[in-house]
């Protein structure tokens, strides 16, 4: 797997100018909009950069040769999750440093435990996105996967809108639900999100392996 990681890291370095530009934007956002936003923004950028390595592999019919290297389909899939998780974690840490630095420069009070827990909770959402994105990228490739992700987002919005309407009809107030969610303690939220991320990761990884095994090279 280390060979694949080196390959993807080297490909990532080819886009170092874009990465630096995004970091500059992140710092600007952190100073102007607010330090919370940057945590989600940079982590998401890290995820996008990592999953785009799948497009590089796919580009110019790269898969057949790649699969003749001393790796297995499983190793390939695992590497994509390791790379994405690593990229997200790294960009999240960078974002965390920038956000703390911004806070200090703005003279805002720093509460390490509380701020860190909030930052960790933000990290779960890109993790969930990773679990959706990797199998979709592997299955549909770079071009079609954008359309599929948009479609999934659209379907999700329609379902959410429909569910809210349905609950209103049956008498449940959506505000009550939101208030109930608000009452969840950060510790409970942490636990629930951990379970959700691990469960979806397991399913996502299994699906990705099946996709790779069935891929026509």
């Amino acid at each position: 797997m280390s060979g694949l990681l080196v390959k993807d890291f080297r490909l990532l370095l080819q886009r170092k100018q874009a990465v630096i530009m995004m970091l500059v934007i992140a710092v600007f956002i952190s100073f102007s909009i607010g330090e919370e936003f940057i945590l989600g923004y940079l982590t998401f950028i890290g995820l996008i950069l990592a999953t785009s390595s799948i497009s590089y592999d796919e580009f110019d019919n790269g898969y057949p040769f790649l699969m003749t290297l001393p790796i297995t389909n499983k190793t390939y899939v695992l590497e994509k999750y390791v790379l994405s998780a690593g990229a997200m974690l790294f960009s999240w840490l960078v974002a965390l440093v920038i956000s703390f630095a911004t806070k200090m420069m703005h003279g805002a009070p720093i509460q390490p435990a509380e701020d860190l827990l909030g930052a960790v909770l933000i990290l779960f959402f890109p993790c969930l996105l990773m679990n959706i994105m990797i199998p979709i990228q592997l299955k549909f490739g770079s071009e079609k996967s954008r359309i599929v992700l948009l479609a999934i987002g659209g379907i999700g919005a329609i379902i959410g809108y429909g569910a809210a309407g349905f609950m209103e009809k049956i008498g449940d107030d959506i505000d009550d639900i939101i208030q109930t969610l608000d009452r969840i303690t950060p510790a409970t939220a942490f636990l629930l999100l951990t379970v959700l991320v691990i469960a979806t990761l397991f399913i996502s990884y299994r699906i990705s392996n099946v996709i790779m095994d069935r891929k026509i090279l």
Partner: protein, 281 residues
């Protein structure tokens, strides 16, 4: 080293069905026109596609079940697939060092210099010849026991083709137990390199023969109508109608040379073989 037994792969109306064997220490060529089934055969041997029927074994194991250690023993160059075009050779070196325990960096760098391959330029900026040389160089760089090369010289000029063939000859000189399976439709490349050849057409093996025998025993007889009617056709493999009469492919050059001394008997090459076997009457 490689055994393909009744390999069957269907794509709609097209069916590939063949058997072949690559023994230790041999260079075996697969020739045939475009679409004959060369790449499908090679992909099956590499475990990239699953046969519908039959078996493909490499080092005595099912091709689809080869371990990473087994794959380290195989060097591969595919005509239409390779490392990302955005990488440089310096990047490729880092990847190969991690991928292959026996990657010979010194040899690789030396050969890059010798073949004029710049190490800090992205592969996408390489010429066709440079890309092809790099693909073969990668395949021979980790002391593999087996090389599998799909059209490694396609679309190249004579000089680039010679560079690649020299790399392959050098690879074989280093260890007599190594084997190469090479597909090509450039017959002259295979004539000077391969020990034996499989001629594939429409997914089937039309001929399997030692290269030396093809070059020494196969011939084309050029005969007019009267000569043709008097000709013993026992050893005629294929016949083609020509403006002057008939051109006949035989694998018994000596027989016709001795028994028909006035007949035009021309040496056959692999191109003739392909043309006759896949298009002759």
């Amino acid at each position: 080293m490689v055994t393909v037994k009744n390999l069957t792969k269907r794509y709609g109306d097209y069916t590939l069905n063949l058997s072949l064997e690559l023994p230790d220490g041999m260079i075996t060529g697969i020739v045939g026109k475009n679409g004959a089934g060369k790449s499908t055969t090679i992909k099956s041997i590499l475990g990239l596609i699953t046969p519908d029927e039959g078996s493909v074994t490499v080092f005595g194991k099912e091709a689809r079940a080869l371990s990473c250690a087994d794959k380290e023993e195989i060097g591969v160059a595919l005509s239409d697939s390779g490392f990302s075009m955005y990488l440089t050779i310096r990047d490729v070196i880092c990847v190969l060092k991690k991928m292959y325990h026996r990657f010979d960096e010194k040899m690789f760098v030396g050969k890059c210099e010798e073949l004029g391959l710049p190490v800090d330029k992205q592969i996408k900026n390489f010429s066709t010849g440079m890309k092809a040389k790099l693909r073969v160089l990668v395949a021979v760089s980790h002391r593999a026991r087996l090389l599998i090369l799909d059209e490694p010289t396609a679309g190249l000029d004579v000089e680039a083709r010679n560079d690649i063939l020299d790399l392959l000859r050098e690879y074989m000189r280093e260890d007599e137990n190594r084997s190469i399976l090479i597909s090509s439709h450039i017959s002259s490349d295979l004539e000077g390199l391969c020990d034996d050849l499989y001629l594939i057409h429409d997914g089937r093996v039309l001929l399997h023969e030692e290269t030396d025998r093809i070059l020494s025993e196969y011939a084309i007889l050029k005969v007019d109508e009267s000569e043709y009617s008097a000709l013993d056709q026992k050893y005629i493999l294929k016949t083609r109608k020509e403006p002057f009469g008939y051109a006949c492919l035989t694998d018994q050059k000596k027989f016709y040379g001795e028994n028909y001394p006035r007949m035009i008997v021309e040496k056959a090459n692999i191109d003739d073989l392909i043309l006759f076997m896949t298009g002759g009457k």
